[in-house]
């Protein structure tokens, strides 16, 4: 297969950046999208040019590093997968492919397709964990948890923190990401002790970092490689508002 690639290239955060066009040929339909870029990069390196920089790590859909917007879709046109799991057979031969970095004020471009996603780490650091002492490992059945709540927590815990929700949202809102963690820990007994503080602090940091607000378009849910549901955003709204009106943080 042959493709024309339009790739965003930018030297550093201060560079203005622009699209470069590359022609790739002999692409195997069984190659992953990242392997296709690897080959392009081999070519560029042989020619003495700077290879296209992009984030990647596990290449098996669990680390969330491989962030890029492909033809307008975070992680490409196929649902429920990350870029590293996308195969070239998902494109038709000769299709023009445009590759852009995550676009959001809080995510400045570091180089080419690599953006700085540490604002999401700071949101987690604000309360996305359980810090109360829970003692030794209890017996597996000592704390009963309703099946639907365990499922809800597991669904939310699937978030890999890739930032596709932010990249997709027209407001660059991080609500789906933040809500997934608030929701996951709010429904579990272990997370209960800190739930009000958690909701207040995580949302506060989310706002300080400059992400936009949620307008319920639902695009994040569609583009999320893990299919995190908007239900978690609704729960985060409940958690936040009830925390605000009843917590001891005056």
């Amino acid at each position: 297969m042959n493709h024309k690639l339009n790739i965003w290239r930018q030297k550093n955060a201060n560079d203005k950046g622009k699209f470069y066009t590359y022609e790739v040929s002999g692409v195997s339909p069984d190659q992953s999208f990242l392997e296709m870029i690897d080959e392009l990069n081999d070519d560029l390196t042989r020619k003495g040019e700077d290879p296209v920089h992009f984030d990647h790590d596990c290449r098996e859909g669990i680390c969330g590093a491989c962030s890029m917007v492909i033809n307008g879709h975070a992680h490409g046109p196929k649902g429920l997968i990350t870029t590293c799991q996308l195969h070239m057979r998902s494109f038709s031969d000769g299709e023009e492919i445009t590759i852009e970095p995550w676009r959001a004020k809080p995510f400045p471009v570091i180089k080419d397709l690599v953006v700085d996603r540490t604002p999401m780490d700071r949101i987690i650091q604000a309360g996305g964990y359980v810090s109360v002492n829970t003692g030794g490992t209890p017996d597996a059945n000592a704390i009963p948890i309703a099946k639907h709540l365990a499922d809800t927590a597991m669904d939310a815990a699937q978030c890999i923190g890739c930032g596709a929700c932010v990249a997709t949202c027209k407001n660059a809102s991080a609500m789906l990401f933040t809500a997934a963690k608030i929701s996951q820990l709010a429904v579990l007994p272990q997370g209960n002790a800190e739930r009000a503080n958690r909701a207040e602090k995580m949302i506060a940091v989310m706002e300080e970092e400059g992400f936009g607000g949620c307008t319920n378009t639902g695009a994040c849910e569609v583009e999320c490689p893990k299919g995190i549901s908007l239900e978690h955003i609704a729960r985060a709204h409940r958690e936040y508002m009830s925390a605000k009106f009843s917590s001891h943080n005056v």
């Binding site: 339009n6 699209f19 917007v69 033809n71 307008g72 879709h73 445009t98 852009e100 676009r103 959001a104 004020k105 809080p106 997709t168 027209k170 407001n171 660059a172 809102s173 949302i203 506060a204 706002e207 400059g210 992400f211 936009g212 607000g213 949620c214 307008t215 319920n216 378009t217 639902g218 695009a219 569609v222 583009e223 908007l230 239900e231 955003i233 609704a234 729960r235 985060a236 709204h237 409940r238 936040y240 508002m241 605000k244 009106f245 943080n249 005056v250």
Partner: protein
């Protein structure tokens, strides 16, 4: 007190204000429609004039009306602050956009649709409310009580094709705003539950189509009636 300000100015707090004021406006529209339907009686405008007279003089309605103005103002003001914040969060856009494949056009165009509704509200208030309150409107006597002939004011403006066309267009815009807005308000309030999601989105779509359609039918009917 600072926690209250803090809550109401957070993005979630503002979203809750949008939802509550939006739902109030949705209720208001239904009541407004019942009033407008009085225009359809073939009674020379008696029912509508009595209704207008009641609305203009009942003290309770006066309070609700002030509240209504305030909620519209709040809805618009808060939407503006959110709009500015949201635009700032994405200074550089994408070359290729996913378009309708991951969200509806109406959900992405609430500010545009709202701005148009605002223009409509402005002209609408000027044409009817302002004229009735401060302008010169012919009087009519019903059951010995002298009152504004609001019916004549409305009927006359609906003989102008441009006015009727603008009204219909505005109702289509309103329909799109509500197509997303109705269900969205519930999500903003955290009301997302598998038992009720279906009925909320179903009612939202029905409301978004039926209420603006009925509003639009009135000027169409009056135009055809008076022309024919």
């Amino acid at each position: 007190m600072s926690w209250i300000i803090n809550t109401l100015t957070s993005t979630i707090g503002r979203k809750v204000i949008m939802a509550l004021t939006g739902l109030f406006l949705i209720l208001f529209l239904a009541v407004h429609l019942v009033g407008n339907l009085q225009l359809l009686y073939h009674d020379g405008g008696e029912a509508f004039n009595l209704y207008t007279q009641f609305m203009a003089h009942n003290p309770l309605i006066q309070i609700v009306s002030k509240g209504n103005f305030f909620f519209i103002f709040l809805h618009i003001f808060v939407s503006l602050t959110l709009y500015v914040r949201n635009k700032k969060a994405r200074p550089i856009g994408y070359k290729v956009s996913a378009g309708n494949s991951n969200s509806t056009w109406s959900s992405r165009s609430m500010a545009l649709l709202g701005t148009f509704i605002l223009i409509f509200i402005g002209l609408h208030l000027y044409g009817f409310w302002f004229n009735l309150k401060f302008g010169e409107v012919a009087m009519v006597t019903i059951d010995g009580v002298s009152m504004h002939n609001a019916y004549a004011l409305v009927a006359e403006s609906y003989t102008i094709p441009g006015v009727v066309a603008f009204y219909i267009f505005s109702m289509i815009v309103l329909a799109f705003h509500l197509w997303h807005g109705f269900a969205s308000a519930f999500q903003s309030l955290g009301l997302n539950h598998p038992k009720y999601n279906g009925i909320i989105s179903g009612m939202g779509k029905l409301y978004a189509v039926i209420i603006p359609a009925l509003f639009a039918l009135i000027p169409i009917y009056m135009y055809l009636n008076n022309a024919g």
